[in-house]
Symmetry: C2
């Protein structure tokens, strides 16, 4: 991870800005959910998708027919991952806030062209979330691989922003009898639901029953 550039330097709330690789990697690894920003005909687009990290690169994928992936190829993108950890309830409206962990990555997205590399990345994505699943699945066909685009983005230009803890109220406001604190939120994973066409006797493997983020 390089030193902050003009656009990765956190401008607002500077004390919340973090640039070290451990923080950035930790947030990227904590959830696959991301939003990809790109420009098409001069206008901004934001598309939610799933990302994964290997080393100092972030990846996302989709159908080769996707106009998002097409617009991102060899183009400037911004991939944002944000995890909301709580609503910060202060004694004034102004001091309300959120606890969160977020990462913004800027750079030029590159399309993987080598089929073997594409497949290796897709396996890492699948097994990263559900260890061992790839080898349990019906094998990916050459046609499916061709119909799938994988984009890579170096983590050279990335920044994290984190807020934790209780509200920061104006000193005078602490004397007011107003409830203040944090309402924590988190992504909850519920019990898996069998496909209605599941063959009799097939039970969910450990990577399904033990699934968690990060």
């Amino acid at each position: 991870m390089d030193a902050p550039t003009e656009r990765t330097r956190v401008k607002r709330m500077n004390k919340r800005g973090k640039y070290d690789a451990d923080t950035v990697h930790g947030i990227l690894d904590a959830t696959p959910i991301c939003n990809v920003g790109y420009v098409f005909d001069g206008a901004p687009y934001v598309t939610p998708t799933l990302q994964w990290r290997e080393g100092d690169h972030l990846f996302w994928h989709g159908s080769s027919a996707s106009r998002m992936l097409e617009a991102c190829e060899n183009a400037e993108v911004c991939v944002t991952v944000s995890i909301i950890d709580g609503f910060v309830m202060a004694r004034s409206a102004y001091n309300h806030s959120c606890n969160y962990r977020s990462v913004m990555v800027f750079g030029t997205a590159r399309k993987l062209t080598d089929p073997a590399e594409k497949e290796a990345r897709l396996k890492a994505f699948t097994d990263g979330l559900w260890p061992g699943r790839w080898d349990m699945l019906r094998k990916m066909t050459a046609q499916e691989l061709k119909a799938t685009t994988v984009l890579a983005l170096a983590l050279d230009e990335a920044s994290a922003k984190v807020r934790t803890g209780p509200p920061g109220d104006d000193e005078a406001d602490y004397a007011l009898p107003i409830w203040a604190g944090v309402i924590p939120v988190r992504q909850q994973i519920l019990a898996p639901v069998d496909d209605p066409r599941l063959l009799p006797g097939v039970t969910p493997p450990r990577h399904i029953t033990d699934f968690s983020f990060g």
Copy 2:
């Protein structure tokens, strides 16, 4: 809500595209969390923030010093709300998917200039999430209002995309003894945590203890 324009027409997975106002409003009202896309110096930026809806407009706010809000004012933006409802686990890697509800709104963001209107919108935002909270708080000052920017975006150009249900596997793959189904996920709200400096005897009001999205 107008008929789909070129950029709101859902291209991929057309059967997942929905344009009716009830669907769009329902998703926007189901979570305040959104990602705002904008262009600055020709490059895309995606910033997570909170949105709220009143009628056929969506709003978001922040510090008047925010470079995101400054870049969005009178500019083309894309505001995306996405709620992930589950991971769709198929019998082949290719047919894995997500269940989700998402909305993309395109348009030009306008800054509210009338202080009374700004305050009314901020009250609606606060009370929309936590009914009655605004009037319990220390009153907002003129200085705080001045330091807060509220942006508005018409919902004229919006589209929703929704996926629900079990995996759609290749017909031949249903004969394979591979576990398939859905791992549901949802945003969970946990018990509120008192501020360490809370005055003795102050307990959380109903809008805190009963807090839920949507």
